[in-house]
């Protein structure tokens, strides 16, 4: 390696010597246009692989997708158990929120307040079976579609309360909630509403106590009809059953109204059965 090789970038002429020639003998380019050619085992300055070739691009894409897919699958499966536990805990917390109890540990408090989780038959309103805690469901929309109508029988300071899950659609996505009723199965004891993606400051206000507390003491049924409803803000005509909607969140408010009507309809037999 006594001599170095220099290549003219303009015409490709290769010069051998200690340093680049002052002028290229072929095209007269100055010394700055020459670059040294490094040979042998040492890694060349230029990229070893042609990263623009089709093969490389396709291989790169395939490997990347496979690696990322495996990685995500691994993360998902390793965290699944913890996540499901969180969802169960959160659902219990939501049920308890509708009862207005102070929650410290959702799992323990759920055991304290909720006596049993029962399924009812919408045709007769009778209890058909009791759901064990191990089979605690979290998606009551699917449960209702599968014909399982849950009622949570609770006990707050000696008084029996019934909590009914409700599901519906807001403006952007799902909305859901829990309606707690007094022992008379007619007066609202408390509610809890939440949403997947309603507009903050507008539709999302259904998740605030201000909106939820307005339901307290309202009557659910009028005869066989679900009378509990959400109306346009400022147009409440029957203070016993109607609640003000959210101004600016009309579609979400209507969603809550429709959700209460459709879901509670399945429970009318249960609610009128006062034994």
């Amino acid at each position: 390696m006594a001599t170095k090789k220099f290549k003219c970038k303009v015409c490709g002429y290769v010069h051998e010597g200690d340093k680049a020639p002052e002028k290229c003998p072929i095209c007269q380019a100055p010394a700055s246009e020459f670059e040294e050619i490094v040979e042998g085992g040492a890694a060349p300055k230029k990229k070893g692989m042609d990263t623009n070739s089709n093969t490389y691009t396709i291989l790169y894409a395939v490997i990347m997708v496979v690696v990322v897919a495996f990685f995500l699958a691994f993360v998902n499966s390793s965290l699944k158990a913890t996540q499901d536990e969180n969802v169960r805990k959160d659902t219990k917390k939501q049920i308890l929120s509708s009862l207005g109890v102070e929650i410290k540990d959702a799992t323990a408090d759920y055991k304290t307040y909720v006596v049993k989780d029962i399924l009812i038959d919408p045709a007769t309103g009778m209890e058909t079976s009791v759901v064990e805690d191990a089979a605690f469901a979290t998606n009551y929309d699917n449960e209702a579609k599968a014909g399982k109508y849950h009622v949570f029988v609770c006990n707050i300071d000696g008084a029996t309360k019934y909590v009914i899950p409700v599901n519906g659609a807001g403006l952007w996505g799902a909305i859901w909630g829990y309606v707690a009723l007094n022992e008379d199965k007619q007066t609202v004891f408390g509610t809890y509403f939440s949403h997947a993606s309603e507009t903050p400051g507008l539709g999302a206000e259904i998740a605030t106590p201000l909106f939820q507390d307005a339901f307290m003491g309202k009557q659910v049924l009028n005869g066989e009809e679900v009378a509990l409803s959400v109306v346009k803000f400022g147009t409440v005509s029957d203070a016993n059953t109607q609640v003000d909607g959210i101004s600016g969140g009309t579609i979400t408010s209507n969603g809550v109204d429709a959700m209460l009507k459709t879901c509670l309809k399945n429970y009318t037999k249960f609610l009128t059965n006062k034994e």
Partner: protein, 210 residues
């Protein structure tokens, strides 16, 4: 060690927070600035998550930058960002469930945030991992800063609260003061951002176009 915090690196970190702010100067990430700024709290959470994701995707892309085939580089960047966002949201769901519930849709919005793609393409593809990390943090904070300012005004004037604490006293309402419902509508975010840009440009002659 001193090299890690050289003048150039400090510049990389601080310029996006002020003089080269991604939102007000480069006008990137406006869409999410509209969506999450009706309240202060989601704005803060969104700002922080974007900061974290920008920093880490910048590092990953910077490490990969010499191997990425030029023709599919945008897709590679998108995959890295989407994978990172998914992992972060999975981890949040498992270990900080309340936060993940609060973030809900915003996590998805991060993937499409133009600031991320902009920084990956403009900076991480041609700089080392450490510089890219600083650049990511700087841009994320620059974005968060604007979000917080916009959300501050929108929540204060639109709902009379800050972080859900009532700021404007009840006596004001009794005297006839009303919350400005318009402030909660997305267009107002644009107007506030525009006011910030106006303010910034009038103070900095460099930013004014001839």
């Amino acid at each position: 060690m001193s090299q890690l915090f050289s003048k150039k690196n400090r510049e990389v970190f601080s310029s996006p927070i002020s003089m080269n702010n991604p939102v007000t100067v480069q006008v990137l990430g406006i869409c999410s600035a509209l969506a999450v700024t009706a309240k202060l709290e989601p704005a803060i959470v969104m700002g922080l998550s974007v900061t974290v994701i920008t920093a880490f995707s910048n590092v990953v892309i910077s490490l990969l930058r010499k191997t990425v085939p030029n023709r599919i580089r945008i897709i590679v960047q998108l995959v890295v960002v989407a994978a990172l966002v998914t992992i972060v949201s999975e981890i949040l769901k498992a270990f900080a469930y309340d936060v993940s519930v609060q973030l809900s849709v915003y996590v998805g919005l991060i993937i499409t945030n133009c600031i991320l793609m902009g920084r990956l393409e403009a900076f991480a593809m041609s700089n080392g991992p450490w510089e890219s990390f600083l650049d990511g943090i700087g841009n994320g904070l620059g974005y968060a800063k604007i979000l917080v300012i916009v959300a501050f005004f929108r929540e204060l004037l639109g709902s009379g609260t800050l972080l859900n604490f009532r700021i404007i006293p009840q006596s004001f309402y009794d005297m006839g003061y009303m919350n400005n419902g318009l402030m909660l509508m997305p267009p107002m975010a644009l107007i506030i951002v525009a006011c910030i840009i106006w303010f910034q440009r009038s103070r900095n002659k460099d930013l004014q176009e001839k």
